[in-house]
Amino acid sequence: MRIALAGLGTTGSHLARQLRDPDITEIRLFDIDQQRIRAVRGALDVRVSPRSGAPDPEDPPDVTVLATPAGGHVQLAAKMLEAGSHVVSISDDPDEVVGLLALDGLARSVDRSLVVGAGFCPGLSSLLVRFAADQLDLVEGISVSRAGTAGPACARQHHRALKHDGRDWRDGRWELRRGGSGRDLAWFPEPIGARDCYRGALPSPILLQRRYPEARRISARMAATRRDRLTGRLPMLRKPHRDGGPGGIRVEVRGRAGGAGPTAAVETLVYGVMDHPSVAAATVAAVVATRTARGQGPPGADGLVAWAEPGELLSELARRGIQIAAFSGQLDPAPTGQTPA
């Protein structure tokens, strides 16, 4: 199994180390920083081919993992799909996610998988949503919250997301809501705990709505501090941290169990994760890349919410150290995602 990995930032470096399947015979590393390639290469015990520039369509690997900062994933994904490689992207930029999803026809025509948003959120969050939704007969509402960031590129994306409009799915249509609005207190697994979360330009609703168009509400929020909101409209005032963890994910899925009719019982399922976003995103992407290279991914372009058997995938992630938790108890009177802006 040959894997190409483009981008060795904080998440990409972790990702390379997580590619530890015995079937992997070669890992090709691409980054503009040769020193970084050498550092990561030294930590791997399979055949590593350090490369410069971008993955080469003339000699396609089984799967290409795109872990570069947002922007440029669409063109590279199209090129590698045409060359016959599966593609896994960890982009969390909503416009880029839309662009990648538009490659669905191309991916299907060449019988390859393009996994969109295979990181922390979207990625792990989508798997948790699917895991919860599979326990319901009808999904009526989905709310996704995230806290923390991975590396500097992720922190910049977080900053951009807060000042741009977010897309909410409400009663069968998209609504643009102002970034930084819709404050909602989300309770993440400890030690993250309670964090105020806000709307922003987040791709999760776009990916989830494709799977659950019948849901009345699908929304996503991100944790932000007062300083984040006060300086959200300005350029970043200081250099981002090398790793913005620890962070968390909280997904809340409401729906009906025991039949899809109006008399069926309404259930709310809440799942969460606490981890360093860079490590968790890398683990998810590595596991998904390995499975995609084996042809286990669904054909075409879609998010991880389209993957059947999410429990089995989550179980492998748990074996690799990601702690997945369920919230049991009484939720607050106004459930997350139902609070008006």
């Binding site: 895991f131 207190l185 309670a194 979360c197 938790a325 369920a326 049991s328 607050d332 009177p333 609070t339």
Partner: protein, 58 residues
């Protein structure tokens, strides 16, 4: 002539100053409202439970 012009400008400048002060106060109050407080009440009962492999694959 100059004294007459200064006489008509004075009330205009006062108005501009008052409008600027009112807008500044409104902005300050809006910022305070936006930043203070919290977005809800934390759950009063229950808690998180880590899922085992059995929970995930059943």
């Amino acid at each position: 002539m100059t004294e007459r012009a200064a006489g008509t400008l004075e009330p205009m400048l006062t108005l501009v100053r008052r409008v600027a002060a009112a807008l500044g106060m409104a902005g300050l109050i809006a910022t305070l409202f936006r930043l203070r407080g919290s977005g809800g009440v934390p759950p009063q009962t229950g808690g998180w439970r880590e899922l085992t492999e059995t929970d995930l694959t059943r």
